[in-house]
């Protein structure tokens, strides 16, 4: 329960951080909130030779609206989203998600971007990023690039982020007042890893769904949008039969994980229930 020896760096600027990343490559690891990395190091499951601690880079600590997007810097902690970070539908949605993340001390340290970089299948923010098709801003000494979740998440704890790259910012498109949101999660205890969760983001016009984004997380190796369910919802009135069927579609669409807490059958059951709850929440608000 003590980590293997490592070298520790505390850069003061983004440039310094990406220089260190370039230098240490595979051996280096970014330390932001440390809520996943440090326990993994204590279990000796993670053995980075060098830790690059970005906590002193004030320039990365921000959440702001800019150009129709909510821009989230690499040091924005989960706790920041427990109350609305701005006005509008998106900012009101995020607190309903944030309260499911771990426990308060974890939320006070862990970061939004850190969750995306870690890519735990049970990460709430990975589901949000996928559902809202976030833009992921990545930097390295080689330059900058932006990617979308579908080309980023590659599996459990696996992404297309390269060893020399820093996930510097996440951008979420703002939602106008025609959008409705819902989020439902199932975990064994308050704050546990989700066994299944669903996020529903629906645009309504005259009582009909004109745009639907439905994401499922926690149940498979990475979060995913359920295209077939979105197609069913779009153009419908979101009545009970539609909601029930959307749950069924999602439950069948995923390739569920299996562990000591939930079998594949049970995970499908939970996805069915969470999708229905998220949709009902969105439709009754």
């Amino acid at each position: 329960m003590k980590p293997v020896s490592f070298r520790y760096f505390a850069p003061r600027s983004v440039d310094e951080a990406i220089d260190l990343l370039a230098e240490h490559g595979e051996e280096g690891k970014i330390l932001a909130g440390g809520q996943s990395l440090v326990p993994a190091m204590n279990f000796r499951l993670a053995r980075p030779a060098s830790l690059i601690d970005i906590n002193r880079i004030d320039a990365l600590d921000y959440v702001r609206e800019d150009g129709g997007q909510l821009r989230i810097g690499a040091l924005a902690r989960h706790a920041r989203f427990e109350t609305p970070v701005a006005r509008g539908v998106l900012a009101a949605f995020l607190p309903r998600v944030a309260r499911h993340i771990g426990h308060l001390p974890i939320r006070c340290r862990g970061t939004f971007c850190g969750s995306i970089a870690h890519a735990d299948p049970a990460s709430e923010w990975c589901l949000v990023a996928t559902t809202l098709n976030a833009e992921l801003a990545i930097m390295s000494r080689r330059g900058r690039r932006n990617v979308r979740p579908n080309e980023y998440f590659a599996g459990a704890l696996t992404t297309t982020l390269q060893p020399d790259e820093l996930l510097a910012e996440i951008r979420l498109g703002l939602l106008d007042d025609s959008w409705r949101t819902g989020f439902a999660e199932f975990s064994r205890r308050a704050g546990d890893y989700a066994l299944a969760m669903a996020a529903a983001v629906l645009r309504l016009e005259d009582g009909r769904i004109v745009d639907a984004r439905l994401g499922v997380g926690g149940a498979a190796d990475r979060p995913s949008r359920i295209a077939a369910a979105e197609a069913l919802l779009t153009g419908s009135d979101g009545g009970p039969d539609i909601v029930r069927e959307a749950g069924n579609i999602a439950a069948e669409a995923i390739e569920p994980l299996e562990d000591i807490h939930a079998s594949t059958v049970y995970r499908r059951d939970l996805v069915r229930a969470m999708v229905r709850r998220a949709l009902n929440q969105a439709l009754t608000r």
């Binding site: 980590p3 293997v4 308050a190």
Partner: protein
Amino acid sequence: MRWVGRPLPRYEDPVLLQGHGRYSADLAQGARFLRFVRSPIARGRILTVNAPPETPMITAAALGDVKPICPRLDRPDCVAVAQPILASERVIYVGEPIAAVISDTAADAEDLAERVTVEINPETPVVTLDQALAPSAPLVHEAAAQNTLIDARFETAGVVVAFTSADQVVEFTFTSGRQAAMPLEARGAVAAFDTASGRVTLSASTQMPHLLRTGIADALGIAESELRVIAPEVGGGFGQKMALIPEYVAAVWAARHFACTVAWIEDRLENLTASFHARDQRLHLRGAFDADGRLLAIDADILCNVGAYSNFPATCGVEPLMALADMPGPYQLTEYRARARAIATNTCPMAPYRGVSRPVITAAMERLMDCAAARLGLDALEIRRRNLTAEFPHTSVTGVVHDPGSYREAMEAAAQVIDIAQFRTRQQTARSEGCWLGLGMSVFAERTGPGTPAFAARRMVMTPGFERVELVIDPSGFLEARIGSSPHGQGLKTTLAQLVADETGIAPRDIRVVAGDTDRTPYGWGTFASRSLVIAGGACKLAGTKLRERLQAVASQVLEAAASDIEINDGRAFVRGTDLSIEVRQLARAAYHQSHRFPAIAETGLSAVATYDPYGTFSNACHIAIVAADGATGQVTIERFVIVEDAGQLINPMIVEGQIHGGVAQGIANALYERVVYDDAGNPLTGSLSDYLVPTMAEIPKLEIQHLVTPTDASVTGAKGVGEGGTIGAPAAVLNAVSDALAPFGVGIFEMPITPQRVLHLLREAERKAQ
């Protein structure tokens, strides 16, 4: 002024809450750290153990003639097995210590341990009860045929007749998952060698400092006076720290061998996988009832998976033998047959855990009552009314004597608090809306404060039971109470001070209770089995009475009055009916510094010693839970939880309620959350708190507690133990409530923990059957 009965804030808390408490790890500064190399294989032959040159490594060969741990029961149906301090030939569970390395920091020691290579020829392990009992199962110990370490039986003459004449026979198999006690502080010790005296002081996170001294001295072949054992602040034990462990023997050996201070601080992974487990049990229960719902007979087959070794001193008999003796619980029963076996497997060994077997047997018996009630069309209260013991003292079919209690009264009171009729109406409405509510109860009697007679009946070679207390008033008038018990979070120092204060007239703030130090306290058995308040408390009362008489003798001399006219209260001695008085501290000063004036106390001074060894006493309670089961996820939520408890005279009601709160939380954990899981190869899969699900505040409902007080003379203070009741009663209430919630589907629960996945699976199965 009377101190007993007041909810005095605990004297222990300020230090702990301010972070000044010193636990074993806090004492490790400057120590060299031990790290154990543990077996990654559940069963196999050790071929080689190698470390890079110059690695300071301890193996079995280095330990030489250090003796293994070999607890014994003096009974023919029991096989004794020896646990080596370090395994040298075979390993028989994952986590078994094979070697130890020593270094200047804990992290460094962990690095060194990684470099030790152990080659093991793996063999197929036996992990489950079924595997261990299979006809050609490999043997965990050659000496234990069929992997059976204990095979105890009991049978009255009329069992067969009772079953033949029964109107209803209810039969089921009940299983309890394996639990880990999960003290907040894992185990750990610092062994300091003193060059001047040649002694070792072992500060260890233990519930039993004196027994640890005995066990380690015996293993090392040294006199007990060579060793001082201190239990500093101990962050919970729950039974897990009620055993001698190889790690402590190795630490003391290393401190002596290297003539230095050695620390071993267990980490959570070790604690969850390689300390002790409990509760891995399966009962096959048959109950015979007459047409009026009277219980005629019980037939029980009790199987306990006790892991790889037996624990010292309680032995692996602790679970099966407790189950065998206490199965009837609060119910009248005349015909009883039982077979209780301790089965060895290639898994982490078992130790006592809060409640010992009774959470399981109570859950099984209470399920039996509800099932029989359903068959006979009686309600849950009525069938219990017809079977609960109401006349005391009551001698159970196994010969256990129950002192007076309030078994029926507690149940009726709890039913009133929760208002069952009102709940049934609400349940009907909720069902019509697809919401599944359930109510379940459990009634139980909790044997507490067992003295030597109880443990002698179990035929323990080391027979625990008495407690001895020494009270000494110093020249400044402060009182020190030195006790053999070893509290570790129970608030015992506060409650004992309250008891001593009432006897001696010295206020609790002027009383220091000294515990957990073998150099400072009389030999005692430690804190377990809900015994410390009953037994150490009883000894405190007896010694306090003697000490008061001595104070009266001194005061009578000083105040020139008859000793029988002296009253002592709130730090002063008064002559009854006069305004003559003197402070106790002045009496103390005089007793020491003008001792020639007080021939009556020449021999004892201002001190007193007493030993108490009771038969034991039964507290009792009724728990009622209301739960909601979610038909879409299987999630069970507890809406209300009512406890009506009878612990006799309450010394400190706040502390009693604290015990109930913690106990019920662990009982709910047993019922709904915690389970140690092994894979087929014997690898533990629940090595962290994200996989071993200890419930948090968010999962535990607000508890509604009421007290009844039934006087008893089975305990000199009138107090009954209350350390385990919460853990014993809660699972049964929860399981009965979940079964009630799922009754419309014909689903009953006969296992714990009952997880959401299992609930949903049982519902789906029921649906399939219905179609």
